[in-house]
Amino acid sequence: MNYSPTEMMTIAAARALSDNDVCFVGIGTPSAACNLARLTHAPRIVLIYESGTLETKPNVLPLSIGDGELSETALTTVSVPEMFRYWLQGGRITTGFLGGAQIDRFANLNTTVVGPYAKPNVRLPGGGGAPEIATSCGRIFIVMAQSKRSFVDKLDFVTSLGFGKGGDDRAKHGVNTQGPTKVFTDLCVLEPDPKSKELMVASLHPGVAREQVVDATGWPIKFAAKVGETPLPTAKELQVLRELYARTEAAHGEAA
């Protein structure tokens, strides 16, 4: 069955979730991955969007973080201060999803600026919830397409903390959550080295060569001692994901 690299990335992220997860979900691929997990192998997964919706079960993917669909299908909806204070800061979230314009080898992320902060070449949207999501969730999954522009040797700005300068630097910032345990890209899955915390390729998606990953990374990327192959998407996974996108496009007024 044919599939796109983005579908592989989304499916790989979905598979890493289980019924035991309480997820802080972001818009875009994370939202697709979390709902795919909910509609396939993890029906009891708890999805929380920062707009205040607890245990939401959207039938279509929201375009914005606060689409009505999220509140209409939620167990309850709380205020935004309550969301950030009780639920995120209070330590109720097992898994937070993040992405960004840039990532470095220690999984620190930039969603703020390209170029200098005071005089940017490109002003990006900014951190939103990311600075506190990155440190308050039990663990972080990162989903982003891999290229030399996005996987960079040095971030222009550290919007949210990954492993800082590596090793035990995260703890030096007073943070005792796990941090980014997996990075899902359109080419591979990366995991931090247990000691140095530098990201290493843990598994390659089917048909992806090591050179492709090297060419799409702005630092000399390392490979784990034993690199696995990501299992192919199943027909069921692709079907559920595509139906979700089809419903979403119809709902958002995009004629196919």
């Binding site: 919706t53 375009l63 209409e72 204070r85 002003r123 939103g128 506190e132 949210s160």
Partner: protein
């Protein structure tokens, strides 16, 4: 005490040049009609505050109403950049704009501290994040009981908060439903406030005893503007016009097409134009 007035009167009386103003809404109940009235009345030198500035702030900034933007995420959700904001910030058109940037947690906590009458908000945040290097309003304090280091930001103190809600009753009490965001906190941290509503009812009728209601005596002005949150949405009334949010990208990309859109849809119209979008879900 809330007074029922026209939208023009509400803005005239409650929004002044140079004010610090928040038109809040976490993608829901965004007071577009009121924002358009601020544009029509040509307010200048505003400090605009919002967690998630979207199209209405793009419009205000593109018309030169603001000197400063305080925010935590600035963009067109799921679509891309706010081109008018970026043009102002990166190129100074139509006038330069300053920014004060925070995280969502910081803004939410600042609103809550403002509503609570505290001087600052504290929370576990900004750890390892670079914003604290570039924003002098992000400080660190030490917990006097545990010695834990925590982030601190000033409490929100607004001149005026502008929000939209589903219903007001005849006494000017206002009820919010769905994603309630920081609307309550914004109003309670402001000296003055304007609430636009979909409808005015004799009585709220059957409701949860925990319904989110702001009493009329906490508000300055209440204005009936059906459809006044379009293209955002009003839970129970009409849906978010996601197609318009996508269309805005092309409209705002170009200075001339932006001005033409404003001329036709803002300067050439009044709040009544929003009624076309008003619809109560069956």
């Amino acid at each position: 005490m809330a007074t029922f007035v026209s939208l023009a009167e509400a803005v005239e009386a409650n929004v002044k040049d140079g004010d610090k103003v928040a038109m809040e809404g976490f993608t829901h109940l965004i007071p577009f009609a009121a924002g358009h009235e601020v544009i029509r009345q040509q307010r200048k030198h505003l400090t605009l505050v919002r967690m998630t500035p979207d199209l209405i702030y793009d419009q205000l900034i593109g018309m030169g109403a603001a000197d400063k933007l305080m925010f935590s995420w600035v963009g067109n959700p799921g679509v891309g950049s706010l081109h008018r904001f970026r043009d102002a910030y990166e190129k100074g058109w139509p006038r330069p704009i300053e920014i004060e940037e925070h995280s969502h947690a910081a803004m939410a906590n600042a609103y809550e501290a403002g509503a609570a009458g505290l001087p600052f908000a504290t929370f576990r945040g900004y750890r390892g994040a670079e914003l604290k290097r570039v924003n002098p309003n992000i400080k660190e304090i030490v917990c006097p009981f545990t010695a834990e280091k925590l982030a601190a930001v000033p409490a929100m103190k607004l001149d005026c908060a502008i929000v939209h809600a589903q219903r007001a009753d005849r006494a000017g009490n206002v009820m919010f439903e769905g994603i309630v965001g920081v609307q309550k906190e914004a109003v309670l941290s402001a000296k003055r406030s304007i609430v636009t509503v979909e409808e005015i009812v004799d009585d709220f009728g059957e409701r949860s005893p925990n319904a989110v209601i702001l009493p009329g005596w906490t508000l300055s002005a209440v204005v009936k503007v059906p459809g006044g949150a379009h293209p955002s949405y009003a839970h129970g009334y009409y849906k978010r016009d996601n197609a318009f949010y996508k269309a805005w990208d092309a409209i705002a990309r170009d200075r001339d097409s932006f001005r033409a859109w404003i001329d036709e849809h803002v300067l050439g119209k009044g709040p009544d134009a929003f009624a076309a979008h008003a619809r109560k879900a069956a």
